[in-house]
Amino acid sequence: MSAAPAVEVEGVAKRFRMYRERNQSLKAALMRGGRASFDEYWALKDVSFEIPQGSTFALIGENGSGKSTLLKCIARILEPERGRIRTHGSVAALLELGSGFHPELSGRENVFLNGSILGMTKRELERKFDEIVDFAGIEPFIDQPVKNYSSGMYMRLGFSVAINVDPDILLVDEVLAVGDAAFQEKCMEKFVDFRRAGKTVVIVSHAMGSMRTLCDQAAWLDRGSLLDIGRADAIVDRYVDKGHEKGVAPGTAGGANAEARVGSGEARLTTVEMLDASGTPATSFRTGDPVTVRVGYECTERVEQPAFALAMDTVDGMRFWAHHTRDGGLELPFIEGTGHVDLVIPALALQPYTIDLSARILDHTLTHTYDFRRHCYRFVVETGDHRESGGVVALGGRWTADLPASASETAV
């Protein structure tokens, strides 16, 4: 990996106009006397950093922090008001929701059109056409107008074109959120190939788990400013921790994190913790360990027939489990003062993973929230005696084989 940067971002600021009255007619302009009525909004404020050549670079931040805007500036689709962006090498961008396909044209025509926009010659495209279609896995539909495509097919074809033009710098915005797992895996492999070929990839994604392992460097944007930059694992952890802290300390929640705690507050969650076999709070467990989730509460008044709910998300955002007291058959007539409820899990059927726990107090109809704390407890699962090969859950299955007599003889 050479040290020369592939992308240099220098003091970039981007302003958007938010029109109070979206009226692009001449009459409207004349009525305003030439003065347009809009508010200014700085989506990027003096952002400077460098993306090294050959790195896989993550851009992380809350929604609305300016990640997409920055990618568009790097891709030259938007022009910053101030500052400069220099890119060394060809750039292909795969922005949110597909890449500039013409809905009336067939997939085939769009591949050629898009490819030539991205700078491929007709001959190159003809040579790569099969590979592109193959990768996208949409061969039977290639001669249909793309307006008939599902969003997944649309995205896959866009990704396939962008990646097959062999750019020096590939910009990818949130595309991994769409598409099935198999395709996502193919994309990941492509990113790895890219890195091996010494090319630069810039990825925006909320899948923190994959970002952590896939990327070597990361920049953290917060409300249009660069907050932190460095090794991807460190930045991702800090970013995830910050979200975590905000959830734990109510009152500090602001802006985009306001959703971390919501509810009308008659009953509030005090402590949410996970206890190990000895009854002490722990943040690290092994597959198959007995665990008790203890949810403490505090009421300002008597709350009739409440329900408690818990949910678990993987660190990369997948909700894989939820359970509440009503489904669990625990009917609470009322709660008052302080107290706690426990969920006893005899064996933690999870594979090694980092997991976020959320808790909620609801009314008996499950439609009203008294208090909700999102991702208020993080724990990690480590390999236990029982080991399975991948994924989140450990189902505890056992392999058996019904071998033919000869095979079992040689096996013995």
Binding site: Q24, H102, L105
Partner: protein, 277 residues
């Protein structure tokens, strides 16, 4: 100049976009590309009926060709005009019509406008060929002027392109531009000697002069670049004479000015283009 570099880099894309426009124009119509000939023929028939038979516009005699057919006289002006008007109209809508593309990928933005103008050049060329065949049949001989004719086509393309570039960005910022332009185009059409000969204007100017009215009608009338273009096309096709060199020079100057201003306006106002789409 960076514009030329950009244009060079966008060659492949330009060809592709132009082909898309040409193919897309009559997509899913029963007659397909046939429409590119049927359309002008229908317009020609209507105007011939109205202006040739009903209003009895005088039909000039071709100076060297001796041809005196209203439909052909009309076609020699109408075909260049139709090209101009179609190029400007579709070039103007090229940015809005491709918002999808502009928001997702970077490429040299004027390519879209250039492609939609070039697509009409294809139609223009076909129509000119058919017209020349018709002229040959009735005894006009425009072939010796073919190279100059080609130059006239290029100049008219450049002229239309410049205007289309200006209007295409204007249309993004002010959506009613296209409505103004469609009215403007109608006015412009009748201000150009297409459905009537230039001699009618001359007659009118003479009459005004006889009445002691000093209004410089002819001078003003001849400021219209399309008048010059039409007369250049007509002298070669219909009259089989060299065009007046003053007219050719005028065309060169307005074409260059139009393109220059067009590029200037475009580059100056494309800064917030994508956000305004």
């Amino acid at each position: 100049m960076s514009v030329i570099g950009d244009l060079k880099d966008s060659r492949g894309l330009l060809v592709n976009l132009t082909l898309r426009e040409v193919r897309g124009k009559y997509k899913r119509t029963l007659l397909g590309q046939g429409w590119s000939l049927l359309n002008p023929i229908a317009v020609l028939l209507i105007y011939t009926l109205v202006f040739g038979f009903v209003l009895r516009v005088p039909v000039p005699i071709g100076e060297n060709s001796g041809v005196q057919i209203f439909a052909l006289y009309l076609a020699c002006g109408l075909i260049p005009w139709t090209f101009f008007s179609n190029s400007v109209t579709s070039g103007m809508g090229a940015l809005l019509g491709n918002a999808n593309l502009l928001r997702k990928v970077y490429f040299w933005r004027p390519t879209l406008v250039v492609a939609s103008v070039f697509a009409w050049d294809v139609t223009f060329a076909i129509e000119l060929l058919v017209l020349m065949a018709a002229l040959l049949i009735v005894g006009s001989m425009p072939l010796p002027w073919l190279p100059l004719l080609l130059l006239a086509v290029v100049l008219l393309t450049v002229f239309a392109l410049g205007i289309a570039l200006m209007l295409s960005v204007a249309n993004v910022y002010f959506r009613d531009t296209q409505h103004f332009v469609s009215i403007g185009m109608q006015l412009w059409f009748y201000a150009t000697p297409i459905v009537y000969p230039y001699s009618l204007i001359q007659d009118q100017a003479d009459r005004m002069a006889a009445d002691g009215n000093g209004f410089p009608l002819e001078t003003i009338y001849r400021l219209n670049p399309m008048e010059r273009f039409v007369s250049v096309f007509r002298s070669m096709l219909y009259d089989n004479t060299w065009p007046q060199w003053g007219d050719v020079l005028f065309c060169v100057v307005v074409a260059a000015a139009s393109l220059g201003i067009g590029i200037w306006v475009f580059t100056r106002s494309q800064h917030r283009l994508v956000e305004e789409l």
